[in-house]
Amino acid sequence: MSVADYTSSRGVRISGLVVLVLAALVGVSVVFFGVSLDDIWVTLRRIFTVGFINRTLVGAAPIALAAIGGLYAEKSGVFNIGLEGFMIFGAITAAATMYGMGGTSPSQPHIWLAIAIAVAFTLVLTVLYAVLLIRYKADQIVAGLAIWFMGLGFAPFAASLLWDTVRSPGLASINHYSIPYLVEIPYVGSIVFSQSPLVVLTLIMVIAAWVFLYRTRYGYWIQAAGDNPKALDTAGIDVNRVRYATVIFSGAMAGLGGAVLLAHAGDFIGTGDTMVDGRGWIAIVAYLFGNYNPIGAALAALLFAGLDMLQIQFQTADITIMGRAISARLMGLAPYVGVIVVLTLWGKTRMPSSVGEPYEKEE
């Protein structure tokens, strides 16, 4: 089966399952709970509002950015399991820079600068990480976990030093742009012509990542570094150099994801699993689910973000199940359960064949 066949049959399988589940849900509600189709239509319209779509896009952006980084690293043969940690570092750096420049009321340029500095800082961190992984052949799984632990420790540590608590005060979140007149087009207007610029940036990154990976020579080198490092080496390309580039890129992208998360949220939360709250892990699943394709990964990120935003939607739309409100905390578990279901049903993704193996040039 060719790759094209594989991806398309995968797409068919996934959409087929979604349709089946939805049909089953509708069937069960109509037959067992006496819900009329009209009610379902009204309820659906209450859930899938413009606000819901916008929140989903905003929620998907950090996951998609980290996922693109992670998939580049893994395509080239290095499993960067530290995405979650780098996202935490990105978020705290952005928060600290914003606070350093503008106190509790940073301006919009401050936010952009903070994002840039967060990316630069995580990039430097990832250089060190890449050296440990590639030069010193560190165990990729364990080192990645270590980055997570360091993020969970050092980010709240930095927050305590700056603000005396592990939470930052309210800083500022990024303004949505708005294009006059066009905004007034129903639905499309308030999604396309009034949007967070960071969502647009994410979209550009996703497309650029796809083009670069599949349409440029360097993209082929990346794929070869993961699938057939020996051939790449024979062709005179330094495998480890390609891997350094992708690992450093992956850390910077995760840092960008963390900074974008912060720029939308407007304050840093360092309690529990921090505000990143598993998004880096979900990013890994997103690119597995998307079969290492940047666009697929972004769609998977949308799916998880949509699941996450449903809880807000259920509350604002005041949707109840058999007369009882649905607990936000339970609804919040949906993405995590979703990840397990996805991994169980589509666990068998085709990994690049030399992931996890340090490459040693033969003398």
């Binding site: 270590a146 540590f157 597995l288 578990l333 995590y336 666990g347």
Partner: protein, 376 residues
């Protein structure tokens, strides 16, 4: 996430093999090197943020061992780290990554508390009833923790779902689910904070040596007994042998008739059972009830560091757990005395793990400096 047992897996196996074949001295050297380097970096950070690193170092020692209270608190954390570290080590030894000890601990702990509270009214209130309840609680915690560990094991063995990611997701699910339950259906009406009802008065380990309501030597002895049992099972029984070979030499194990898939599930079950016991000991010895699990401390995560530092050897877990117990125990003292935020300790733990992951680093340092050299 694997179409064969996985190329990734093979890479990991090689890393694990390297760990297994390395000499004992080398492993101890790497553990000490990693810890020292991490603590040195910690001290540099302390100095960089404007505190006195020497004062900080002194406070760490005093906060962990300086008084009977500090020492018993260190042992309290050590007890939990020993159990949690063994739980993680069992899985790592068999080539399975159990990052889910935290979730298994939470599920074990809450079910221990629930079982005791539900059964208590049917038993006499004296010491005998207490012992029966404690045994019941421990058993229930091991069973539920084992089941919660078996789930990702089965998903990995039969559906190829990566256990690293499923166990992490199950951690988030356990925290959310139990957090919801203790704040809702399980929260007594008179409870001012988020918690379950209290355990009955007769449920608790006796105070034999220390006057610390949160620590009993019985808990520590229980943890050490688990270490002995697990270590005997792993090194002296054919079951333990099968477990380790199926993790590291799967073809050989399959050839000798070990069902590797079932072995993965069994390994994760055993690992989860021990992790469940951590939750039970935490509930019975330390808290006496159960709280929102987002606030109970990252024993399951730090246990990964404990296990790695011990080169996944159940016996080595004991000194590693003592180190982490001391670090945790001193952290609050340090914050009060030096004003250095406690979270620094978590960061240092991360650094320890990072350095343990890169033994090559220390080999190279050793070679450059002429320490040890080739014979290490």
């Amino acid at each position: 996430m694997s179409d064969d047992p996985g190329r990734l897996r093979r890479g990991l196996d090689r890393a694990a093999d390297r760990m297994l074949t390395a000499s004992v001295y080398e492993r101890i050297g790497i553990a000490i090197g990693s810890t020292t380097l991490a603590i040195l970096i910690g001290l540099v950070i302390v100095a960089a943020v404007g505190h006195d690193p020497l004062q900080f170092a002194r406070d760490m020692v005093v906060g962990a061992f300086g008084s009977e209270r500090a020492f018993s608190r260190t042992l309290q954390y050590t007890t939990l780290f020993i159990l949690a570290g063994v739980a993680v080590a069992v899985a790592f030894r068999a080539g399975v990554f159990n990052i889910g000890a935290q979730g298994q601990l939470i599920i074990g702990g809450i079910s221990c508390v629930l079982a005791i509270i539900w059964v208590a009214p049917f038993l006499p209130t004296g010491a005998f009833g207490g012992v029966v309840l404690i045994v019941l609680g421990l058993v229930v915690a091991a069973v539920t923790g084992g089941l919660y560990g078996a789930l990702p094991g089965a998903l990995k063995a039969y559906y190829g779902a990566n256990e690293i990611i499923t166990t992490i997701m199950l951690n988030f699910i356990a925290i959310g689910l139990v957090g919801w339950a203790v704040d809702g259906p399980l929260r007594p009406d008179d409870a001012r904070s988020v918690r379950t009802a209290y355990l009955p008065d007769n449920v608790g380990f006796p105070q034999l040596v220390f006057e610390n309501p949160n620590f009993s030597i019985v808990g520590l002895l229980l943890a050490l007994a688990v270490v002995v049992v697990i270590s005997v099972v792993m090194t002296r029984t054919s079951f333990g042998y099968d477990m380790v070979t199926s993790g590291h030499q799967e073809p050989a194990a399959t050839f000798s008739g070990v069902a590797s898939k079932r072995m993965i599930v069994t390994t994760m079950t055993v690992s989860g059972m021990v992790a469940g016991l951590v939750g039970a000991v935490f509930a019975i010895m330390v808290q006496g009830y159960f709280i929102d699990p987002s606030g109970i401390g990252n024993y399951g995560f730090d246990a990964i560091a404990v296990s790695l530092l011990a080169a996944n050897n159940p016996l080595g877990v004991v000194p590693a757990a003592l180190l982490f117990g001391a670090l945790d125990s001193s952290s609050s003292y340090v914050q009060i005395n030096s004003g250095v935020p406690v979270q620094l300790i978590d960061g240092i733990v991360g650094l320890v793990v990072l350095f343990v992951a890169a033994p090559e680093l220390f080999r190279m340092i050793a070679k450059r400096t002429g320490l040890g050299g080739d014979d290490r």
